[in-house]
Symmetry: C2
Subunit: 144 residues, 2 copies
DNA sequence: GTCTTTTCTGGAGTGAGTCAAGTTAACGAA
DNA sequence: TTCGTTAACTTGACTCACTCCAGAAAAGAC
């Protein structure tokens, strides 16, 4: 787990100012992957005390823009953030409880990046979301 | 292009009641693929006159649930609907203008459905979204 | 034609996220 | 160290897609 000074280095590397809210948000997302904005606000406030929700929204946007965080938003869910960036990985989402897990790319480094007919689009990323049922919900459904 | 009686047959096939708003919504989505709810409401009102937005939301949900329509919502966009259901196809989304195009599956009928490590999830669908720049935006960017 | 059930209307409400104006603090330069 | 600039934070109002609710209307079964 990265330390506060690691986070500081990451911020400086992205030429962003180092502030307590930013460190706290970065840390919260590292310890709570796939957390939604509300939970992040909660965690940040536990560590720092009062922080405006607006600040957290701003920080999340700044960090996402700088490539330090990645924003994901599966259908029917609010925005979630994760700290694992730079590798091409995807997600499985549980239809029943909304749980999210990371999945490494099925077909090498850049899977499915070739669309059969790209309609002239210049494609730079392929995002894959697997939909299914998580182990907990599967067993819960069986026993009912 | 399907006719009103085709739509009627589709509704009956899904054991849904046949009403003017439903026919109109079905027709609107067929003629305007990837339209958002607001545009659909607009098209429906052009054809039918006054229809409440609530009715359109209800109809869209009923038709989506019955499998007659498919709901897609790429990040940063509101919900959109398309009438092409039952075949496993995906979408390219333009980062700059939000345009959406259909893309057939790159790797056969069910692409990438095998995650390398599924964490015990029972996966039933793989959704792929390609991100890029559409032809219009590409040429616009070059000329500027 | 009458009855039951589903659908539609109109209006109020919810909640994630944004906008705007003013204050505060980070950090490079003097 | 202090100063000034500029980015970041606070507060609070606001937007907008979407939902909930209660009553009215219409579709389909008998």
């Amino acid at each position: 787990m990265p330390t506060a000074s690691d986070f500081e280095r990451m911020l400086r590397g992205a030429s962003l100012r180092v502030t307590a809210p930013r460190i706290a948000v970065l840390s919260a997302v590292h310890t709570h992957p796939h957390a939604d904005t509300d939970s992040i606000i909660g965690v940040v406030r536990q560590n720092l005390g009062a922080v405006s929700h607006q600040a957290v929204y701003d920080v999340l946007r700044a960090l996402t823009g700088a490539g330090l965080l990645r924003r994901i938003e599966p259908q029917g869910s609010v925005a979630r953030y994760e700290a694992r960036v730079g590798d091409n990985h995807h997600h499985v989402v549980c239809r029943s409880c909304g749980a999210i897990s990371d999945v490494d790319c099925a077909v090498g480094a850049a899977p499915c990046l070739d669309a059969s007919d790209d309609h002239g689009f210049v494609i730079d990323e392929a995002e894959v979301i697997y939909w299914g049922t998580c182990p907990e919900c599967t067993t819960a459904a069986k026993s009912s």
